[in-house]
Symmetry: C2
Subunit: 332 residues, 2 copies
């Protein structure tokens, strides 16, 4: 019997379609191998020696045989422009805003082949330090209302450049989707008197069956109403609305915790395409008692189609408990 499940934090319903269910290991079979990538590609603008082909560097972590370990640059094909001011315009029923904002690329390694799931502890730590540093810097731009840090891995996840890189976009408004998630979290707080994410975390720790990894400061689990196979949330144990509230010790734990989940996905599911995104609050909301930042990881093993488009509901063909058990058991 299929089941509908609701994620209490987002209020989104998902159909857990048991009739179509695959075994976790079957998902690995559909994954196109990305093959071993070369360590260096002469024409790749992100490879060492081609630093001059990128827009001027914003920052770097220096060191290593190539002179740098991580580089931050403006996105050459930026979705938003750093020039100009925020200005909203009304033309009848049409509303628009100048496309100002920030769009940066974080080159994660000089190595073209450094897989997202196979970073060393040091490399992971460097990357998450850069995430935090860029988050704070971009949040402080007076035109930016929300900072989105995300990673696209593999072509099914929308990557065009294979050299390992993350992206950061600072948008000049609060998107409807984010506003509505804030409202849902606020409503839960008003109704129940606690952060819905703190409550969910406590319930998952008690139930255990959807847990993936527990470390000192973070817990990862496949949400009860996971939208797709192996969809995973990584939550800090301590209540914090904004990512910028993370301590150095927490950030270090997050870096290796994330790397370990990505390694489990890499090994267990044959290096699937995936996205991950840090879901934090809009500016000024970082001390709110009702929201809790987290990382959402979405392996791209199935495709959203007309039903998802028309209903906003997802059909998940993997039982969340089975996805979690599979990931727990992958040896890294």
């Amino acid at each position: 019997m299929p089941e509908l499940r609701q994620n209490m934090a987002t209020k989104e319903w998902v159909i857990i379609a048991t009739e179509r269910a695959k075994r976790p290991e079957d998902f690995a079979k559909g994954v196109e191998p990305k093959g071993p990538l070369p360590e260096f590609v002469e024409t790749c603008p992100f490879c060492p020696g081609n630093e001059g082909k990128t827009p001027p560097e914003i920052s770097r972590i220096a060191g290593g045989p190539k002179g740098w370990k991580v580089r931050v640059i403006p996105n050459k094909f930026a979705a938003l422009s750093t020039e100009g001011e925020r200005a909203m315009r009304f033309d009848g029923v049409n509303r628009s805003m100048t496309g100002v904002g920030i769009h940066e690329v974080i080159i994660e390694s000089p190595s073209h082949s450094r897989n997202v799931g196979l970073l060393s502890d040091d490399e992971a730590r460097d990357l998450y330090n850069v995430y935090l540093q860029r988050y704070v810097a971009i949040r402080d731009d007076p035109r930016v209302e929300l900072v989105i840090i995300f990673r696209n891995h593999g072509s099914a996840a929308g990557t065009s450049l294979e050299h390992p890189h993350s992206q950061v976009i600072g948008v000049p408004l609060v998107p409807t989707h984010i506003r509505s998630r804030m409202e849902e979290a606020m409503r839960f707080f008003d109704d129940v008197g606690e952060c819905v994410f703190c409550r969910m975390l406590a319930d998952e720790l008690r139930a255990k069956e959807r847990l993936v990894i527990e470390t000192e400061h973070f817990v990862s689990f496949v949400p009860y109403a996971a939208a797709s196979p192996f969809h995973t949330w990584v939550l800090p144990r301590r209540h914090m609305a904004g990512f910028d509230k993370v301590t150095p010790a927490e950030l270090e734990d997050l870096a290796t915790h994330m790397r370990d989940i990505l390694k489990k996905l890499h090994i267990g599911l044959n290096d699937p395409s995936l996205n991950y995104v840090i879901r934090s609050v809009p500016e000024h909301w970082e001390n709110m008692p009702f929201f809790h930042w987290y990382v959402s990881i979405v392996p791209r093993l199935t495709k959203a189609a007309g039903f998802e488009l028309g209903s906003g509901m997802y059909i998940n063909i993997a039982l969340p408990e089975a996805s979690a058990k599979f990931l727990r058991e992958v040896k890294i």
Copy 2:
């Protein structure tokens, strides 16, 4: 300079990324040809002669050399079960509902190769008559709150079976996404005193630059804040909240109007993968003054990635006015 645009009906913001913009004709180049499909495939469960391989038929339009023109069957791998009753369950923070509902498949033609954009007038009319008939029948199931009629064409749009077919799902609750769109439309009506879709239609007819096709009863246009390249809305000129309010003359016009847009996409963009969905109201809302049913067509020419996942905003790399002009000029 990029621009952010808001769709006033859905309140969703989109980034129109002019720096990344492609010319309309460039989108056709990335489309993998689906090749000419065979007229008949012996192993295809939807091909004539294999009627016994599908679950028992619900209805058909009889006639033609194969004995039927359209068949309606239960989905063999249904996302929801026709057995059982609606029952909501609370377990701490976890909310679930029995997965009851309806999931049907509409086999559009006996021909395995009948492309979605190349139906004859008669075939299109038959199909839309079946859409309406199934909409009404499924809406009347006491467990169903919302009916979604949709079409997935091509593998990038999530199809696994290539024989031309549409699907209908009746869900036992109103998804959050739909509820929030109803609320936005209601709010506009309360603020401005008219249906936001009627207003948008009037504005598009005046502006002209985003129109695709105008027929007696329907108007299609690329929305001002189109989420992706060639995203097209098809609206009835007459205000109707529910799809079931359509007259026979309107339905006939819709059938050929839709076929003509799909033919333009087929010819102009090299038969791209696409989804379309009829966006109607939840049950009992069919007479509401603030919502207006429509068909949304989404060619799948780009991929949603981490930014879309994290922000709920889309980055559209085609200017809506350029998409519309291109489609207007494709000769069918």
